[in-house]
């Protein structure tokens, strides 16, 4: 356990499970990703369940007086955040495919999602 913690101490998984706009989770998760990236920690972002809606192309919340959250994710590479994973069943259950998303993501199955979470020293949920 201690060896494992040392190896993974600087690795963070951000687990995104909420839809955007209905709560602050997506926006706060995004802000955390910027912060974690700035501190040069190894960050892996995993989108599961309604979290995949945060990446859908064509979001326009102008009438809600909010910023389009999806547009932010491609800019995270400037902060060193480049590892994005999306859970396959979460996409398919919502009638979505990778082409519908604002980012080139790696699509993972159940086991792949679990491996990402296991590979990180800490899981930060949003």
């Amino acid at each position: 356990m201690e060896v494992r913690e040392e190896e993974m101490a600087n690795t963070v998984a951000v687990l995104m499970r909420k839809a955007p706009y209905g709560s602050v989770y997506t926006a706060e998760g995004f802000r955390s990703m910027m912060g974690i990236g700035v501190f040069e920690l190894d960050i892996r972002v995993l989108f599961v369940d309604d979290g995949v809606y945060a990446l859908v192309k064509g979001q326009n919340p102008a009438a809600l007086d909010m910023k389009p959250l999806g547009d932010g994710f491609p800019t995270l590479s400037e902060f060193g955040v480049t590892q994005f994973y999306v859970h396959d069943r979460s996409l398919s259950e919502r009638g979505l495919a990778p082409k519908d998303l604002v980012l080139d993501v790696q699509v993972v199955d159940d086991a792949g999602a679990a491996r990402i979470l296991e590979s990180c020293g800490i899981v930060v949920p949003f």
Binding site: R4, R17, R89, A114, L117, E118, V123, P125
Partner: protein, 97 residues
């Protein structure tokens, strides 16, 4: 890996979702409203019984008692706060909020 669930299984999909992703053998800890999954006779009962065939399922005693939940599904392991802390110390934690 200790997967932690704090939402009611009848209001939210958290429990169903985590059971799809958490590999067999990995424990689930029910706390706060998550403990409603531990009760016998609820619509979530079959889901929890299937989970128990594959993994330990723990429920926090204080949260059960606070909600008056006493008739639990066989196999649910009730833990007090000391047991809760031990589980968190022994495992890499994944909060499924």
């Amino acid at each position: 890996m200790l997967y932690m669930v704090n939402k009611s299984p009848l209001m939210f999909g958290n429990l169903k979702s985590v059971l799809g992703i958490a590999p067999a053998g990995e424990p689930i800890l029910l706390y706060e409203d998550g403990v409603y999954a531990a009760v016998k006779g609820a619509a979530s009962q079959d889901l929890v019984r299937q989970a128990l065939e594959q993994r330990p399922v723990y429920a926090v005693r204080a949260d059960l008692e606070a909600r008056g939940l006493t008739a639990l599904i066989d196999g649910i392991q009730v833990v007090d706060y000391d047991g809760f802390v031990q589980l968190v110390e022994q495992h890499h934690v994944v909060p499924w909020l």
